[in-house]
Symmetry: C2
Subunit: 706 residues, 2 copies
């Protein structure tokens, strides 16, 4: 039995979102039961295609002719919704294959979502069946597929009880099914509709990235929201996000897993492993995905992402008719290190003529103007024209509720004159009509100060997908030669150090010595270290002795170290030891490279020493990185402030550090053997101009070689 050709791309999108005939496998005749709902919902929301209930016990279900098996249906089916108990799912998929149904959405659960080996095995077997018979799968454990323009509501979700659902131009892909319902119902309450929605469930086959890719080509979709628990299928998600950017469709993610607890939960809940929040942030940033941290920001942010300054200065202009209300937004922006800029001198002078003194103020408060439309509109025009700010934030008080013509209508007017500028509006009172007025004009309008600040932060931190960085190595031949040493059985510090030297990272000179060697021409004081291809953390086994002042002490230390290792059943490679002059720097960094199972190669830089882990003060990016990104990373490490000119302390060699970050990141391009993990801890940072120097080296190859 060989696998049948399976649908993808445009054809798959059509079957998924625009089917002409759908089958409901396991449809109940009781319209209140979960399995009875989809048929009712399709009718209620005006699906124009044909619906075929599949139920072996009945000839008719909810007024429609029913069939025992999908193979009995006397017409071609585009899309089947599978709602039978899990043990009957594989047979249902086989029937789909036999009848030529190209895609099935599986509501049934009890597969990888169980979080145990049994569930995973069942899911693997199911996927095999689907691949064999040429059926693409959504799910299992999917809450369904929606295309509101067509009334396609292929789901059991009770949220579809809503009498009508308006269509909009934003689509959603979610790893949580119930979240779709939440967005749908919250959107409906505010007059926000969606274009398409899809719950990927366990992603046995179709993953978030493939759906996003289909939505890139969807004429009804202007922007895509992602609710993510994990980064399963990261490469396809990355490619799709880059394509969305090319199509000028913003992609926004809310991802669980900001806390350890959240990560653990996401793992059990969806059966997927999740990386830490920083890895996810690095991934989103590299591929042009905006990330929000407040759930409802998902509903509100889309219009904001169609504007924005090219260069991000972390600066906004804020105007308001209510000082206290504006302060609730500005306080939050300040927490994200975003500043406000005062009015330009021209605007200040112009407002002064109207008796409003805003000169030098962090926010431009027009309360004094008593919400006069002309002043409000003129001020907003001036702010939108002022390119110093990344975005303009307008905070409107009670006038939004009772006198929208004074403040809300002028926002719409001013925005229409500056359609490419980023503008965010927070409405302080409850004023649903004003929110809707703004949204209908394509202006980002927010219900809460936290949502507004979150969206502005997400906009400012968003970057266009990073261009692919040249991966050329410092000296590919030298790297290959250095890697040859440890290719078979791993790298000890000396061997790893040679690799780092070959990629262009300065390494402290060292000598390999053994007991009895002449030790007189060393530059004391020195450090003595064991050599091992297997012991990763040498200090944990007492394998490092520091500050040895003379040859005699060194000889003694070697003897002592050899004995100490022996007692633990360890030995230094070839009974040689590494001896290195003690090095000094202004600060210590930890520079590391690793391959994340989800997102691939990563480079990180953090402050060295015991506190690194405690403060988690580390910057992470997908590797390789450009020199610009390396500088940005160094800037993000708070503890490295000490070498950036903090409080008159001597500046460290940030340039050399940035070059080292770039060099380390390029380990991603070493293909055979593939490097799994590399770490320099510490990398000493010397005074400006004096460079950096690695005084330790750790390198591991991937066990599965390419």
């Amino acid at each position: 039995m060989s696998a049948r050709g399976r649908l993808g791309g445009h054809e798959l999108a059509r079957a998924l979102f625009n089917p002409t005939r759908v089958a409901l496998v396991g449809a109940s005749s009781d319209p209140s039961k979960n399995t009875g709902r989809p048929q009712r919902f399709l009718k209620q929301h005006g699906f124009r295609g044909e619906v075929f209930p599949i139920n072996p016990g009945r000839d008719e279900v909810q007024g429609a002719r029913a069939y025992a098996r999908i193979t009995d249906v006397p017409a071609a089916i585009d899309h089947a919704l599978i709602m039978v108990p899990r043990e009957r799912v594989p047979a249902a998929i086989e029937d789909c294959g036999a009848h030529g149904v190209p895609v099935a959405t599986i509501y049934s659960d009890g597969f990888a979502d169980l979080g145990n080996a049994e569930g995973q095995a069942l899911q693997r077997a199911l996927l095999e069946v689907a691949q064999m018979c040429g059926v693409r799968l959504v799910g299992p454990n999917s809450m369904g597929v929606f295309n509101f323009a067509d009334g396609l509501c292929l789901s059991v979700n009770a949220i579809l009880e809503m009498p009508t659902i308006a269509a909009g131009r934003v689509s959603v892909v979610s790893q949580s099914g119930s979240i779709l319902g939440s967005l749908l119902s919250r959107g409906a309450a505010r007059g926000i509709g969606f274009a398409k929605m899809l719950s990927v469930g366990n992603e046995a086959d179709i993953q978030v990235g493939e759906v996003l890719d289909m939505l890139c080509a969807d004429a009804d979709t202007d922007a895509v929201l992602l609710f993510l628990e994990s980064l399963r299928g990261a490469p396809s998600l990355a490619a799709a996000a880059r394509r969305a950017h090319e199509m000028a469709k913003p992609v926004v993610a809310y991802k669980l897993g900001r806390s350890d607890l959240g990560r653990a939960l996401a793992a059990t809940h969806s059966g997927a492993m999740t990386g830490d929040a920083q890895v996810a942030d690095a991934f989103f940033r590299s591929h042009g995905i905006a990330r929000v941290t407040q759930f409802e920001t998902l509903l509100e942010i889309a219009p904001l992402l169609h504007g924005g300054a090219a260069e991000r200065a972390r600066r906004v202009s804020v105007m308001t008719t209510t000082g206290g209300g504006a302060a609730t937004v500005v306080d939050r922006l300040g927490e994200a290190a975003i500043e406000t800029i005062p009015a330009s001198s021209g605007l200040s002078r112009s407002l002064a003529c109207d008796g409003i003194d805003v000169a030098g103020n962090a926010i431009i408060d027009l309360t004094m103007a008593g919400a006069r439309r002309a002043i409000f509109e003129r001020t907003l025009d001036a702010l939108l024209a002022d390119s110093r700010a990344d975005a303009v934030v307008v905070v409107v008080g009670s006038s939004a509720q009772f006198h929208p013509q004074l403040t809300v209508e002028p926002i719409v007017a001013a925005a229409s004159r500056a359609p490419t500028r980023a503008l965010a509006v927070y409405i302080v009172p409850d004023a649903p009509d004003s929110l809707r007025l703004l949204r209908d004009a394509g202006i980002a309008a927010f219900r809460t100060p936290e949502g507004c600040a979150d969206a502005v932060r997400a906009l400012i931190e968003w970057r266009a997908p990073l261009p692919t960085v040249g991966e050329c190595l410092h000296d590919a031949g030298a790297v290959k030669a250095a890697l040859a040493d440890g290719q078979r059985d791993g790298f000890n510090e000396a061997e790893a150090a040679r690799v780092f030297a070959a990629i262009g990272i300065p390494v402290a000179p060292f000598a390999l010595v053994r007991s009895g060697d002449a030790l007189t021409d060393l530059d004391f004081p020195v450090a003595l270290k064991m050599l091992s291809k297997t012991v990763g953390h040498k200090t944990d086994v007492g394998g490092v002795v520091l500050d040895i002042n003379d040859a005699r002490s060194l000889e003694a230390a070697m003897a002592h170290l050899r004995d100490a290792l022996e007692q633990q059943g360890l030995a230094s490679d070839s009974n040689k030891f590494l001896v290195q002059s003690m090095q000094h720097g202004l600060a210590e960094a930890v520079l590391a490279f690793r391959r994340d199972p989800e997102v691939g190669p990563l480079v990180s830089i953090g402050l060295g020493g015991r506190l690194t882990e405690i403060y988690r003060d580390i910057s992470v990016r997908l590797a390789p990185v450009s020199l610009d990104s390396a500088y940005e990373m160094i800037e993000e490490v708070k503890g490295l402030a000490t070498i950036r000119g903090y409080r008159g302390l001597p500046r460290g060699d940030v340039d050399a550090l940035a070059r080292a970050v770039v060099a380390m990141s390029r380990l991603s391009s070493v293909g055979a053997p593939r490097i799994e993990e590399a770490e320099i801890n510490p990398l000493l940072i010397r005074a400006d101009g004096a460079g950096v120097v690695a005084v330790d080296a750790l390198l591991t190859l991937s066990s599965a070689r390419d």
Copy 2:
């Protein structure tokens, strides 16, 4: 002219909130103008008292007899609202005094709110007038006073255009006027009413604390919300908060100033200085005020604070019908270091009988049960009875929108059987009716996952007002003697060190030496330091030399140091230097005491070294503190993890450190001379049992002595 007796307490509360006759000074006959609104609003919202418009240009205003001056009114007035331009405010207040009006609410602005010296002078002059003629003031720059049970809406706020306003049992005091409108309108949209509201404006006279104190005695008020920009009048606020706790009325604060930007803004906006977020947190914590960080949590949290466990374990139980929805709350809780606990073995077994396997899961997900009421209710009963958790969080999915009888009604039923347990409900879809059903049953119900997590965190971090800590000094006589040295002209390190020794903090032994002294019996290596009563940071002027190994080097270092100081026009006191053996510890801390201008004496402990400031890793409390609080503070300093048994590192003497924190905090009780600031940087923490030792000492007295 002597000041007239001025109203306070119950009498003032009656005049403010329950006036029989009010005067509107500066009332306009145009009901759409700001100054024409209050008269219209009072009528619209059913104020039953008499209203007297004061307008020198008219005999009649909006159908009521008008008077030129308040002194012309032929009846006693309880409460006047002043809306005239600022230059006419003092005369209006004089008129109030002449007519025996006990309290005036001043809407007029242009006083301290201008943020300049002119405005402040005008406000001082105004307060003097009011004090002279016996009138209490709300404002200036107040958005008014509200008592919804009486229809008293003494305000120009456009929010009062709402046709009707329901009364509730929660009151609000705000330093921002517009925020009252926001709470009022957002509350109305959700069916949440308020009892009383007051905008304190510039707080020239009546401050937040005095209003809170009145509300403690108010039979219509069950809880009080504070919107704060600063902690003006902190002592009266503290006393009122403690009284509210005695009356079992929770007090909740949202305070601006979490970021530097927010603080700067609050300062200009209200003309008040604000301390940093940690100082405010310390203040709230000491006095039993819960602090929320999301604005709308103010609307939602009150019912939660009537429950809660006595002992806080930072643990909650979470049950849900939607895994993804619950994860959005739990992820946030995890960020606040709050854990979830799995179901008890009893509950797990009982659910297993219904085919629901929750054993060991972080959240108790009943999705599998298909929202069956009996199971839902039984599970919640079990969780509410389980005292391991500080609170129970229930996250309800789509059933809340269409089938509240399945999940929402059982919550109400279960909660009624466990009225003292803390219960928070987050509703995932838009389901205003379910939110209202819960709220009407006195259950805390939340619209957003962030609001729910914020409230649960605020509950868990809330403490009953701390009991007053005994302030007895280690040895009051010794402290007095040690303080005598520096009382006149300040303390050099040696003098400050004697004070610390006297309060019971171990200080490293030192000798005072001068050039030519016999230096042989010192315990080398030593540190050499200048002595100065004026130079605070000795290292900034090169006044410290470390690691001196012998007498000859010491003599040379002294000569060098003397010359170096001379070149800066400085000298060591009496040409003596402080010599101290180099000390070692496992970690360095900074232990400090200072008097904050708003909240009073504070004690803080942080990690020593250059990174302290960068990471702001410091714990702050109002001084004095108990030993329990000192341990709690040490626990809060992340960087001190290294001495708390982190990763097998040797434990430091946390007990000795806690005792030192307590001793430092008791400097608050030293009255004459009063200590303004004290700092030990560093305080070395030695291995467990080996104590702590101060190796530097800084002490400053208050310039204004008591």
